[in-house]
Amino acid sequence: MTTTHTEPTPATDAAASAPQPLTMAGALNAALRDEMAADDRVVVYGEDVGPLGGVFRVTDGLQAAFGDERVWDSPLAESGIVGTAIGMALYGMRPVVEMQFDAFSYPAFEQIVSHVAKMRNRTKGRVELPIVIRIPCAGAIGGVEHHSDSSEAYWASTPGLTVVMPSSPADAYSMLREAIRSDDPVVFMEPKSRYWSKAPLTLPVQTAPMDRAQVVREGTDVTLIGYGPTVRTALDAASAAEAEDLSIEVIDLRSLSPFDDETVSASVRKTSRAAVIHEAAQFGGYGAEVAARITERNFFHLAAPVLRITGYDIPYPSPKLEEHYLPTPDRVLAAIAGWEWDLA
């Protein structure tokens, strides 16, 4: 088998020199395009990723650009998609597969948990699976049932998986390229409600390594932790808090597994208070791990318990009710106001 690994000559290089406004969907598309151009082992398949370009258009134009041996529509079966990706990776390919929505990754659960996550360890590192499983995730898009699940806790609690979630177009581009280059399987979660958010970008852009959290706004009184869609919520809360003379530091987690203890603990030791925001239900949600490990590692630096501002412990609601479910900046500020501040 011959494989060509050309060193990165991104297709976007020439085209984009001055910053161009780019959506997250566009940035992801560019990342796929550039990585496919750089490495012919990268293939893209899944449901409707070919001529349609995916239901969110993240794979738009890729089949036209790279042909149907690099990008194709598979039969409609998620276990089949992930299961065949394992075989393709075993043969030296680097498959990037798409699950259409969080809830439609569940048929692939066994392949992901029992094989994708365990293969490297099973074989003492002799078999690597450089697979990227892209999952458009979370809600706030007015989707009917099954279209707004937040599945991150399932993946993040599974040893052997790397789980990342960008919150901006720049990170989307940089982290997806890094995920494809990773020799480990990556669950790459794309917050649907941010797909059409824009930022001016010159490609290729390289942001921080995908396993590091980032302080996206500095502050002194509270560490507010978000990821994916809730980074925006956290930033909005921080802006609003400014008016009340409350200085909030916002951390974008970026990597759910591994967890960047270093960055988070440093911030918490500075502010002595932390809160985490996510859309998923609270009970057993990812925020539980965030709260537990911050507390374990910084207990004597904490002035108050770590707060979780999350969805309720109910199934994701129907479109007309999601506004009541989703954590808002107001809800964040109310929760923070509820701390026993005088005890600090």
Partner: protein, 369 residues
């Protein structure tokens, strides 16, 4: 199971050419093409015609309302009326139906009110009708999952010696899912009274059926389960009804499950948010529009002198009045209490949920102040 009498595996290949009773010009066909089925009586066909016309009017109305932003989404069955109405009309009110998102018009035929059908698509709540009352489950979104529910219910009924049938609809794309296989297999092994309709509308969103299967027909799948399979012209409501009716009666009398493939075409986009120009040619759509299932039956009824102007007008009136009702109900905003979010997750209240409920209640009260 001791209920199992000696059943022998059916080992017949479905005909590669879809069987039909009426050709596209509305003429009754004979002999080899019919697979041994005969035309239903004309009164039955007239009733099917009425249902199809009303169903189409509803479908067109809802698509229009969706374009106006009154619904979150709507998957249209325009062009699939022969499959939808022909097959749903083959079961009784005592039988159970396990539909998908695509099958709103079959629900309508089942007597469910437009407002209750559309509760989910307009985004009010996940499901709007009483599943027990209509013996019709929520329109399933996770593909092929509902087929297993149909098999389980049919098995329970069989254990109870209740002569009811469970009917379920699947798309061509959904047949690729593992759950479709497990449903076919459990039904055949347990010999449950289940009828599977695969509506092969030739696309799963943008993916053509040629990328879902290498088999000559989707009905061929039946062979691997030892059950009867039929490949039927899905735009011929007479054939769809006749084949489904026979399958339902065989199931009811202990003869086990049947797989029916209706070969049809999705005329509209997948849902309102789809752009079919990306993956299919207008010419193809035009070709299938010329094979319209309602027109086909209409030609036959007219040629038989069974469709008077009075009847035609009466059906049109019924269709219009349903469209009006649909518009009206979709104009009135439903009253939804956000606090109900917490009330149906478990049968008994949970402390943590009551806390969260109280928090939202306080928040709403604060906002109202």
């Amino acid at each position: 199971m001791s209920l199992n009498v000696e059943h022998h595996a059916t080992r017949t290949l479905p005909s590669e050419k879809p069987l039909r009773l009426l050709d596209n010009a509305g003429h009754a066909v004979d002999g080899s093409e019919t697979g041994g089925f005969s035309l239903p009586p004309v009164e039955r066909l007239l009733e099917l015609y009425r249902r199809m016309v009303v169903a189409r009017r509803f479908d067109v109305q809802v698509t229009a309302l969706t374009k106006q932003g009154r619904l979150a989404t709507y998957p249209s069955a325009y062009g699939q009326e022969a499959c939808e109405i022909g097959v749903i009309s083959a079961i009784t009110a005592d039988d159970w139906f396990f539909p998908t998102y695509r099958d709103s018009i079959a629900l309508l035929t089942r007597g469910i009110a437009p407002g209750e059908i559309l509760t989910s698509f307009r985004g009010d709540w996940h499901n709007g009708y009483d599943q027990h009352r209509y013996r019709t489950t929520a329109q399933a979104t996770p593909l092929a999952t509902q087929a297993l529910h149909a098999v389980g219910l049919a098995h329970a009924a069989r254990l109870r010696r209740d002569p009811i049938v469970a009917l379920t609809f699947l798309g061509d794309g959904a047949t690729s899912e593992g759950d479709a296989h497990e449903a076919f297999n459990f039904a055949a092994v347990w010999q449950t009274p289940t009828v599977f309709l695969v509506q092969n509308n030739q696309f799963a969103i943008s993916t053509p059926v040629a990328r879902q299967t290498h088999a000559a027909t989707l009905a061929d799948k039946a062979v691997g389960y030892g059950m009867p399979g039929y490949h039927v012209d899905g735009n011929d409501v007479a054939a769809m009804y006749a084949v489904a009716h026979a399958a339902v009666e065989r199931a009811r009398s202990g003869g086990g499950p049947t797989l029916i493939e209706g070969l049809t075409y999705r005329i509209e986009s997948h849902t309102n948010s789809d752009d079919p120009t990306r993956y299919r040619k207008a010419r193809e759509v035009e070709h299938w529009k010329r094979r319209d299932p309602i027109e086909r039956l209409e030609k036959y009824l007219v040629s038989e002198g069974a469709l008077s102007d009075a009847t035609r007008a009466e059906i049109a009136d019924a269709a219009e009045s349903l469209a009006r009702e649909t518009r009206e109900v979709m104009t009135r905003e439903a009253v939804i209490d956000p606090l109900e979010l917490f009330d149906h997750v478990y049968s008994r209240p949970r402390a943590a949920l009551l806390e969260q409920r109280a928090a939202l209640e306080a928040e709403l009260a604060g906002a109202a102040r």
